[in-house]
């Protein structure tokens, strides 16, 4: 599975919840897509699926990193928007989250100048022009997501 089309907010919720059942500590999810694509919304549903209070999940644009520690697995919610194309990963204090205890979910990953891990899942969200649907394109780096993407597809087909 390379793509999923999301037609309504419930589809985004389902994707987030399905992913929450598959993620594990040490995962790195790299989200890209224009303003309003739904990156924070998808992160909120995923966090909710991990047992994190959804009200904790807000746009990290201003503070760059939000930490959610009260779920099944702790999450570092990162946003490179304010850094723009000068993003330097060594600058933002990400190291402590890369040690493997956290799931890293990064918005505006298109600003990443370099790879930040061997195993990453890239997710690009693209809105169609009428803004009726959103298409999520998955791209994996490393092997860890190969089987899980197949499971994600099964999960998305279930009611």
């Amino acid at each position: 599975m390379n793509q999923i089309v999301l037609r309504r907010i419930e589809d985004t919720r389902k994707l987030g919840l399905c992913m929450a059942g598959l993620v594990k500590a040490g995962d790195i999810l790299l989200l890209s897509g224009d303003l309003g694509a739904g990156k924070t919304t998808l992160t909120r549903f995923l966090a909710q699926g991990l047992g994190i209070d959804e009200r904790e999940v807000t746009s990290p644009t201003f503070s760059i990193i939000h930490e959610y520690r009260h779920g099944r697995i702790p999450v570092a919610h990162v946003d490179l928007y304010r850094l723009g194309k000068n993003a330097e990963i060594s600058d933002i204090g990400l190291d402590e989250y890369l040690a493997g205890d956290f799931i890293i979910i990064m918005e505006w990953a298109e600003f990443l100048p370099e790879s930040i891990g061997k195993d990453c899942l890239y997710m690009n969200i693209r809105m169609d022009r009428e803004c009726k649907t959103r298409t999520v394109t998955f791209r994996q780096q490393g092997q860890s997501w190969k089987e899980r993407l197949a499971e994600l597809e099964r999960c998305m087909k279930q009611h």
């Binding site: 919304t41 009200r55 644009t61 201003f62 990193i65 850094l83 194309k85 993003a87 204090g93 803004c131």
Partner: protein, 337 residues
């Protein structure tokens, strides 16, 4: 302890600031060094540069504030510093400096919550400040929250943004329109000549949690509108987009603040934070509060954006209640729910 002279230090984001406050009232000196020009030049914030600029600026800024006050460090009774929320790398500079200075000179150290400081900024140089209890709206690039303020220290969070802060929505809409950072002042300026009714942008009312805010849908709606017109080859009426967008933000900020005032039975509201310097928000909030029989308070323009006088004031009230911090205190990037 009631400190006579409090030195306030603020480095939570783009401003390095220091201020000297006497008797919790008189600002003897206040200095702000902004980094906004530097970050605009790079087209984004570079945290490492932000931290370095704070390191370079903090000593001269503190010295200038003391010089303005015509005092030396030995005259200071207590040092109040912003502990959070904010950018960790920036907060650390202010806190480390404050700790070292306080420790070396044997001064009391007070850790201040940046949002609480904004709430109290309305008391700075204000001969007719709000009466407790009041509903306080803090609205800036990083925060959009409503509070019930019962006293200087008894403050209850009523609701906050679920996604983007209002100031963040201004910045992102500015980016969509190809306008510079920060978005607030430039959108506000262009909106003066625009039609607020040209576009009907959504207002998120959130009936189940009426004190919460959401600006993400508004931001997306503006973006869709602009991209659609661009795609059809139409000229984007930037002034009308700015006016209609600003109207939607201002409208919801006012509606929710007035509703909270009614819900909690208070007769005063106060609006603070960077977006509180928006002239349209000031004018409309004052008018609509008046129609509802409420007194509406804004800080002076200079105290809306980040400053250290508000930090010193919050520190003064904290210390009066004996609340100081030790040398092992750390910064925090966010407030708990």
């Amino acid at each position: 302890m009631e400190p006579r002279i409090v030195l306030g230090i603020e480095t939570s984001c783009d401003e390095t600031a220091a201020a000297v406050l006497e008797n919790g009232k008189d600002i003897l000196g206040s200095v702000i060094a902004s980094q906004i020009d530097i970050h605009s030049e790079y087209g984004g914030i570079v945290p490492e540069i932000a931290s370095r600029k704070h390191v370079e600026a903090i000593h001269p800024v503190v010295q200038s504030a003391l010089a303005e006050a015509d005092l030396g460090f030995h005259d200071v009774d207590a040092v109040a510093v912003t502990q959070g929320p904010g950018l960790v790398g920036s907060l650390v500079v202010g806190l480390s400096f404050a700790k070292a200075a306080a420790l070396a000179a044997g001064k009391v150290l007070i850790g201040v919550n940046h949002v609480q400081a904004h709430l109290l900024s309305v008391f700075l140089e204000n001969a007719a400040p709000p009466e407790f209890p009041f509903v306080g709206l803090v609205v800036s690039g990083g925060h959009t929250s409503l509070y019930l303020v019962r006293s200087f220290l008894n403050i209850e969070l009523l609701g906050q943004t679920r996604d983007d802060a209002a100031g963040e929505a201004f910045d992102k809409v500015a980016k969509v329109l190809g306008l510079p950072y920060p978005g607030g002042p430039v959108i506000s300026k262009l909106a003066e000549n625009g039609d607020i009714r040209r576009f009907k942008f959504p207002r998120a009312r959130l009936p189940e949690t009426p004190c919460d805010f959401s600006f993400s849908g508004l931001k997306t709606a503006v973006m869709q509108q602009v991209r659609n017109m661009e795609h059809k080859g139409q000229i984007v009426p930037v002034e009308d987009v700015c006016a209609s967008f600003q109207e939607a933000v201002v409208d919801i900020l006012i509606e929710k603040t007035l509703a909270a005032a009614a819900e909690y039975g208070v007769s005063c509201i106060a609006v603070s934070g960077g977006v509180a310097s928006n002239m349209c928000l000031r004018r409309d909030m004052l008018n609509r509060a008046q129609e509802s029989g409420l007194k509406c308070h804004f800080p002076k323009q200079e105290f809306c954006t980040d400053n250290a006088a508000m930090v010193a004031l919050a520190g003064y009230h904290l210390l009066k209640e004996g609340m100081s911090i030790g040398p092992d205190a750390d910064v925090y990037s966010r407030l708990p729910l």
